[in-house]
Symmetry: C2
Subunit: 457 residues, 2 copies
């Protein structure tokens, strides 16, 4: 069956469109974490939207399952062929149109990396609102399909908020063009672009997107602000969330700061190390504002700080950011890291932060727990070091607590294949059956990413 | 069939839940414009979500079609029983929870009016990002279902951007609870709340919504800025769209200003009357900024103005707003108004404004054309006075031009029943069939708003 399919695709895409070199197949069958690995008979490399449509239509005819693939930087096993699917590598869809300065928008092919987009729009005097560490590898198609987040969701929202329109090949093999003109207001029926954004390749293969751009940052001020208790830091965050020009609002805790200090062989800039600290950043697209004063005023509106370090120059700001950004690296230096990426409602955040260390200790005595994250939007990262590599107990206990507190078991990484077992508990049976019904409507033969989200049988 | 259905519903909702008084039925069968009128055998008044679910399940059993109804302030015939459907009045769902100050969110029942919501959140020190003229009557359920817009989309986005989560009774009769905890980041599958927002009651009946709030405006500066040409005003808008703290960006033209001046018996504040003017407003949630200077700097970044009037006090600002807001009233004073509510891509706006008067003149010699609108988000209102009440020719010609320029034939009002004939030309056959398929998935028996959007047979 697959051979007949591949022959048909080869006939339409040409030999360069169907790769079966075993080394290439191996590379493409594993994600960058190495945790998720599968096998595939072929990597297809369509050169454009019409070829993607040919691939999907052939797949329907031959009942062959496909997994769309970009930069493979996802963390939940959503882009690798765990059931032996054929891969569709979208990186040849590398269209990058000139910036539409009148609209502040750009149209970009699915295969363009975030870094290339950022450089392109910066040269035209604009910026893009989403930034993630994998910018050099992650592709816009994948970022749209997974609704990627990052450090500045508190200011600009996630990918779904940047996507004005998109082009995609639906599971039917039809090409959907949804508001590629980038109209800010088009109230003519369902928001299909928003529906496909975050659908993880299960409804259609995103081939291009029309993205909103933002004004670049001209000036910024960053502060690491200590608090006497975790509760004070959480209360301060509730105030700071309303601060004008807020650009980032991150949480770190005392034990994490001390570990980073040991790692960097530098003293914590707040002495003594406070139980909790916020990394607060305000930024403006216009020069000449006194952002440091503005930041100080915003901080003064909350609980009394236990010290603060402020930076307004780029290198000083980067140094302060280091106290937050070194956390994953420091955790990795301690051993195998078990991770959870969760969101808590604002009202439950303090309780969660308070309970997690003891909860992990009960599951895995002697384990080290690091807590930090994007507190501005409620997104916390839990890193646990100590348990055996295949011991999911502590993280499962954390996710149970998240659900009990009405949080989300996946703040920004998605469901993929890794978190399928948690989906119904998160969203409820009605939502899961609605998602499955919508999926059958747009991919009637189940050819797109069958193992992901709501697995097809 | 309907009698058996009504008996069943009466048994479950009680007698007060089923109204058949002919006066009440007549009132509920016409929208406020009077243009769209139908007939209905009954108005159902469920007291809560569970009762709405009972109604939908009964409707499925008896194959009875329903039209959900809020304040009936829509403009496209989407909330009246044009096919003799049974009405579901949602105004008893008037839950209004305390503001969650930690999250800056509130949960509101479908039947709460916008005005009541605004008063409620203002008392708690917050504001709501969407405002429309019908605030005293329009209900949040209807505003969510139709993705309402208004004057401040350029700052806060439309309803879809305020809706973090919602509760709805799907066409299956199941109750969907989608992120009622209001998590900012919950990346666990399809954005069903976003899908239902703007679905015009075809996928589910919205019963409650979790809404994001915004910081209230502390200070604002407003200017009416004249330009030598329409092209200059459009070019200025492209610059001003990037202005920090932009709160509104509206367009008026010289003929409209002169008509308003005659109507108000007051001179246009820019002399001589310029061919085009922008109403620009910047606003901040913090006091003490020099917003007038900030506004002047933003204007200085664009083409040279032909005069400007600036206001920073509330009464002066309201007076300037009057030059924009009086347009619909002035048009109505001239006779029967034929209206189009359209969006143009930024790059096509100047051409559209240039061509429309001559286009209308060809269709309806001697007609008066008024052009104005929310230029910041590309949304223009076309008012034509002169043609016979049932002469759709001029507006159809305008909408043809909109489509030729890649614009939208419905910027904020939706499709309803009025614009069904335009939907496929707007969105394309693939999108329309995708919408119909999604609709069948969530409302398999076609009981919800069958005449709207993609009519069910």
């Amino acid at each position: 069956v697959v051979d007949a399919f591949l022959d048909e695709v080869r006939g339409r895409l040409g030999p360069q469109g169907v790769v079966t070199d075993p080394d290439v197949l191996r590379t493409h069958s594993v994600d960058w974490t190495g945790r998720w690995a599968g096998r595939t008979p072929a990597v297809l490399r369509p050169a454009g939207t019409a070829e993607v449509a040919e691939v999907v239509r052939s797949a329907r005819r031959h009942a062959v399952a496909l997994v769309p693939q970009g930069g493979r930087t996802g963390l939940v096993g959503g882009s690798v062929p765990l059931r032996g699917e054929v891969l569709v590598d979208l990186r040849r869809l590398d269209r990058l149109d000139p910036v539409d300065a009148a609209a502040g928008q750009v149209t970009v092919g699915a295969g363009v990396t975030l870094q290339r987009l950022q450089d392109h729009v910066a040269a035209a005097g604009w910026a893009f609102g989403v930034d993630i560490g994998a910018r050099g590898t992650a592709t816009l198609g994948g970022m749209v399909a997974t609704n990627a987040g990052g450090n500045h969701v508190v200011r600009y929202g996630s990918m779904r908020h940047q996507v004005l329109g998109l082009e995609a090949v639906l599971g039917t093999g039809e090409v959907l063009a949804a508001n590629l003109a980038g109209l800010v207001k088009d109230n003519t029926g369902f928001d299909l672009a928003g529906l496909l954004c975050g659908s993880e390749g299960t409804l259609g293969i995103v081939t291009a997107a029309r993205l909103a751009l933002v004004a670049p940052v001209a000036e910024a001020a960053t502060a690491l602000v200590g608090y006497r208790t975790i509760g004070d830091a959480v209360a301060a965050a509730a105030t700071l969330r309303r601060a004008p020009d807020l650009h980032a609002l991150e949480l770190v805790l005392g034990p994490g700061l001390d570990l980073v200090a040991a790692h960097q062989q530098a003293p914590v800039p707040l002495a003594p190390t406070p139980p909790a600290a916020l990394l607060v950043e305000v930024a403006s697209s216009r020069a000449g504002s006194d952002l440091a004063a503005q930041l100080a005023a915003a901080v003064a509106g909350g609980p009394e700080p236990a010290g603060a370090a402020v930076a307004t120059t780029a290198p000083d700001r980067a140094r302060l950011w280091g106290w937050r950004e070194a956390h994953p690296e420091v955790a990795a230096g301690l051993g195998i890291v078990h991770k959870a990426d969760v969101t808590l409602p604002a009202a439950a955040t303090a309780r969660f932060l308070d309970e997690v260390p003891a909860l992990v200790e009960r599951c895995a005595p002697g384990a080290t727990t690091l807590l930090y994250g994007h507190l501005g939007d409620g997104n916390l990262h839990v890193n646990v070091v100590g348990p055996d590599p295949d011991d999911d107990g502590p993280i499962d206990a954390v996710l149970d607590l998240v659900l009990a507190l009405d949080g989300s078991v996946s703040a920004e990484h998605g469901i993929g294949t890794a978190k399928v077992a948690w989906l119904e508990r998160q969203r409820g049976a009605v939502a899961v059956s609605a998602m499955a019904a919508v999926r059958r409507a747009l991919d009637p033969d189940g050819v797109l990413n069958p193992a992901v989200l709501t697995p097809r049988t």
